[in-house]
């Protein structure tokens, strides 16, 4: 080391001071926007749940009153129940996506176009997807026709009008729209798996299924953790598909947590109560992420 650098305030050299100022200037717009619209809302939203606020009159502190009324709020329990039920789509979606990723992880001619075809639903607007499937799922729609032709159904069903089926019908659309997205995550995971492991297993006489179950799948664990977390959080917060396809009906059977937040917050402007609902949903999301993380703990944590 040569001459000792001239030190300025806080023991930083002049050069480092200049670099630091430049660095923060570069980051300023992003940090300011994230501060105002991402970090501040988390703090303020939690505080807002303790106030009565309807935009017009000033906020009034009510303590935990919102949370107490939640306990006796029929709609809250219905909404929470539906959101939790929606989690059923997660394992199905993940298993299908892994299968799809394995199917397209082959050097076939034209495989690129198949991947693109599977990804199309992802880039389709949720409004278009919702409207399209609403028509397909009508009682006299195409899906019933196909199922009846195939002999799987005797009488046409109103998928979205039947209180026992509507939520599952919406889940099906979520599955259709999500497959391609998770396929890409798994595909990236699969391409990170060195073929040597699989070849070694094949050389040892393992069957294809054994290779997949005992070699590929464990190596894929970080991708599974990531994809499962993303899709579980999305399932708990499901709203847009429901809003477009069923509007929360029939008989509130598809009325989810986010739907209730939307109603309370933006339709009835009961923002304090909506914030309380959001806090409960956030707690549910964090709890669930914790559980998923524990289940897959042995695997590494790769963040995309």
């Amino acid at each position: 080391m040569g001459a000792r650098p001239v030190t300025g305030p806080f023991g930083l050299s002049h050069r480092r001071w200049r670099a630091t100022i430049a660095a923060y200037l570069f980051m300023f717009p992003a940090l300011a926007l994230l501060g105002a619209f991402t970090f501040y809302p988390v703090a303020f939203g939690t505080a807002l749940s303790l106030f009565k606020y309807d935009v017009i009159s000033p906020p009034r502190f009510v303590g935990f009153e919102h949370f107490r009324s939640l306990w006796n709020d029929r709609y809250f329990w219905i909404a929470l129940g539906n959101s939790v039920k929606f989690l059923l789509v997660v394992p199905v979606l993940q298993i299908c996506s892994i299968g799809l990723a394995v199917a397209v992880n082959v050097p076939l001619r034209g495989i690129r176009w198949f991947r693109a075809a599977y990804y199309l639903p992802v880039i389709t607007s949720v409004v278009v997807a919702g409207l399209m499937w609403r028509w397909l799922l009508e009682q006299d729609g195409v899906l019933n026709f196909v199922l009846m032709k195939a002999g799987l159904l005797h009488r046409p069903i109103s998928w979205l009008g039947n209180p026992d089926l509507a939520l599952y019908a919406v889940m099906f659309v979520t599955l259709w729209k999500g497959l391609g997205y998770y396929m890409v995550i798994y595909l990236a995971g699969l391409q990170g798996v060195s073929p040597e492991f699989e070849e070694a297993a094949v050389a040892d006489g393992a069957s294809r299924w054994q290779v997949f179950r005992l070699v590929t799948l464990p190596l894929l664990r970080p991708s599974v953790l990531l994809a499962t977390t993303i899709s579980a959080i999305a399932a708990l917060k499901v709203f847009e598909e429901v809003y477009i396809m069923t509007g929360g009906g029939p008989m509130l059977r598809t009325y989810t947590m986010f739907f209730y937040i939307f109603d309370k917050g933006f339709q009835r402007l009961d923002l304090g109560y909506a914030a309380a609902l959001a806090v409960v949903l956030a707690a549910a999301v964090m709890l669930l992420s914790g559980v998923i993380f524990r289940i897959f703990r042995q695997g590494g944590w790769t963040y995309y």
Binding site: A30, F37, A103, L108, I123, T124, F145, Y304
Partner: protein, 273 residues
């Protein structure tokens, strides 16, 4: 592995069946939009639109405010993409190439946003916009999404790969940090910028919930919100609504098919390892 021609054909058949599942709804949508006769509902459904006609497109284009919605969407997408490219690339540069106190903290803060419950933000951001009197404005629609953390990570990853020699050479020539960022770094990471632009474009083109909350006047609606609004107004005319949906979707599909390499690669490029 052995390759029997039969197995190959079977494999293609399977892939094709899956492709039919993912694309059929879109094909059906196009088929509805192209017909003027024949029912949309009822058994058996008429699969092929015969005779095909563009009349529905003419109807939505002239009697519905669709051109307006298109223009709104393009304006929103244009501004959102520009802001994101600018702010994300500015924030990513020091995170990738500079040493400064607080770097780890900023990094941790950014990572934490990926786990923060974003829906709480929906309510508070609405209140913030009310206070700033930005409800029913494009500024209100755009500001909360003007920086994406995913974009910062994606571009940081790209900046990391730029060889040190390039930067050193510029520094010896006496270039400032701004010049290095603008003249040396950005041109090198164009592929990553293109990927981010694409993602942002698709995301804003399809974004629905936030514009629905912020915008109150239908003439300001982007396509996604406008289409749902029209599907209510024109509930009796499924074919016209389908035509509108096709017009909204086709540009996305075309963009995607031409750029899918960027797309698929970009999705995994934002990885933080």
């Amino acid at each position: 592995m052995r390759r029997a021609p039969g197995a190959q054909a079977l494999r293609y058949a399977g892939l094709l069946a899956l492709a039919l599942f993912t694309t059929f709804p879109l094909l059906w949508l196009i088929s509805i939009a192209l017909r003027t006769t024949g029912s949309v509902f009822g058994f058996p459904p008429q699969i092929l639109p015969w005779p095909p006609s563009l009349a529905n497109f003419a109807v939505v284009w002239s009697t519905m405010p669709l051109p307006r919605f298109f223009l709104n969407t393009i304006v929103l997408c244009g501004i959102a993409v520009t802001l994101n490219l600018l702010f994300c690339s500015m924030a990513a540069y020091p995170l990738a190439r500079m040493e400064f106190p607080g770097r780890k903290l900023v990094f941790a803060l950014l990572l934490s946003t990926l786990m923060l419950p974003g829906h709480v933000g929906l309510i508070v951001n609405f209140v913030t916009l009310l206070r700033l009197r930005l409800i029913d404005t494009y500024a209100g629609v755009l500001l909360p999404g003007a920086v994406s953390v995913f974009g910062i990570f994606l571009l940081r990853q790209a900046f990391l790969t730029v060889p040190m020699e390039l930067e050193d050479a510029a520094r010896i020539d006496g270039a400032s940090e701004w010049t290095i960022w603008w003249r040396v770094m950005l041109p090198v990471i164009t592929p990553a910028l293109a990927a981010l632009a694409l993602f942002e474009f698709v995301a804003v083109w399809n974004s629905f919930l936030w514009p629905l909350i912020v915008l109150k006047s239908p003439e300001k609606y982007p396509l996604a919100v406008g289409l749902l609004y029209l599907s209510g107004l024109f509930a009796h005319n499924t074919r016209a609504v389908a035509a509108g949906a096709v017009l909204m979707t086709v540009p996305m599909i075309v963009v995607f098919l031409f750029t899918q390499r960027f797309f698929m690669r970009g999705l995994t490029m934002g990885a933080v390892r």
